[in-house]
């Protein structure tokens, strides 16, 4: 630990704090917001900027201590590819529970939304 330059130490610490703050705000949003669809917005935030800056901190620390590792880039890439899919699935469940409700705007075509489609 001692051979890491002071400035890089500060940079890593700042990134860790930023990441932790955003993850905390994401969890707080999950508690605070009052509708299912509004709640969905909070965790998408935690997984993008929060986890992103935590991974960046890990990468900078690894480079500074001489064991260069780029695995974090892969973690970030896979996370960014998969996060929208789980978000979409939760949203779809919400749509099914709302079935028949008048909350949704009607699509321009007559077929309706794909989630409700019978085909």
């Amino acid at each position: 630990m001692t051979d890491i330059p002071f400035l890089i130490d500060i940079l890593v610490a700042t990134l860790l704090i930023i990441g932790a703050t955003f993850t905390l705000i994401g969890s707080y949003g999950l508690l605070k917001l009052d509708q299912p669809m509004k709640r969905l917005h909070a965790p998408t935030k935690a997984s993008t900027l929060g986890v992103g800056s935590l991974l960046l901190a890990s990468m900078i620390h690894a480079f500074a201590s001489g064991e260069s590792s780029l695995h974090e880039l892969l973690v970030m890439a896979f996370l960014f590819v998969t996060a929208p899919i789980s978000g979409n699935f939760i949203a779809k469940v919400h749509l099914h529970r709302q079935r028949g409700g008048k909350e949704l705007p009607a699509p321009p075509a007559e077929d309706g939304w794909a989630t409700y489609s019978e085909k």
């Binding site: 955003f22 705000i25 935030k45 900027l49 960014f80 794909a114 489609s117």
Partner: protein, 167 residues
């Protein structure tokens, strides 16, 4: 004839490049052996899966995809701070959660998937559903008093760029 042969051996040049890069990242090493094995995988996997991905989009300008990714990463950071402020300081009753309807000009499924992913990743909007005919996207916005503004923003900022990349 040589073009047809290249197309047969390298059905997805971009996918092959991506596979080599991901392989090197997984091994965490950039020696000759790793790159060669990555290249073998990058050749074999697209050939063996080409039959399952027939109408692949032809990306003629890959560097535009890179600049699009940089733009999205920048937007994610800006939008994260905005939504954090909304979550922290705005009362639940003051928020205006809204459904936004986005008519699509994009036709290729890959491009629509990318657009939907972008919308979900930029906080404040979650893409929820596609219309059954694939011509409109249903998006939920956390705090949008004016759904038309959100729609126009997404259309000019992301969809126009994706259209340039894929069509």
């Amino acid at each position: 004839m040589p073009l047809r042969l290249t197309r047969k051996l390298l059905p997805h040049p971009l996918l092959s490049t991506l596979l080599v890069i991901v392989w090197c990242l997984l091994i965490n090493d950039l020696s000759l052996g790793t790159v060669v094995f990555g290249a073998i995988l990058g050749l074999l996997i697209p050939i063996s899966t080409a039959a399952y991905w027939p109408d692949r989009p032809k990306i003629t300008r890959p560097w535009r995809l890179v600049s699009y990714m940089l733009l999205v990463i920048w937007d994610i950071m800006v939008a994260n701070v905005q939504v954090a402020m909304i979550v922290l300081f705005k009362r639940n009753d003051d928020m205006a959660p809204n459904w936004v309807l986005i008519p699509l000009d994009l036709r290729s499924p890959e491009a629509i998937t990318l657009l939907a992913g972008t919308i979900t990743l930029t906080p404040g909007t979650v893409s929820t559903d596609l219309s059954a005919d694939g011509r409109a996207l249903l998006v939920h916005a956390l705090d949008a008093a004016d759904p038309e503004a959100v729609r126009d923003d997404i259309k000019t900022r992301y969809e126009r760029r994706l259209k340039e990349i894929f069509e």
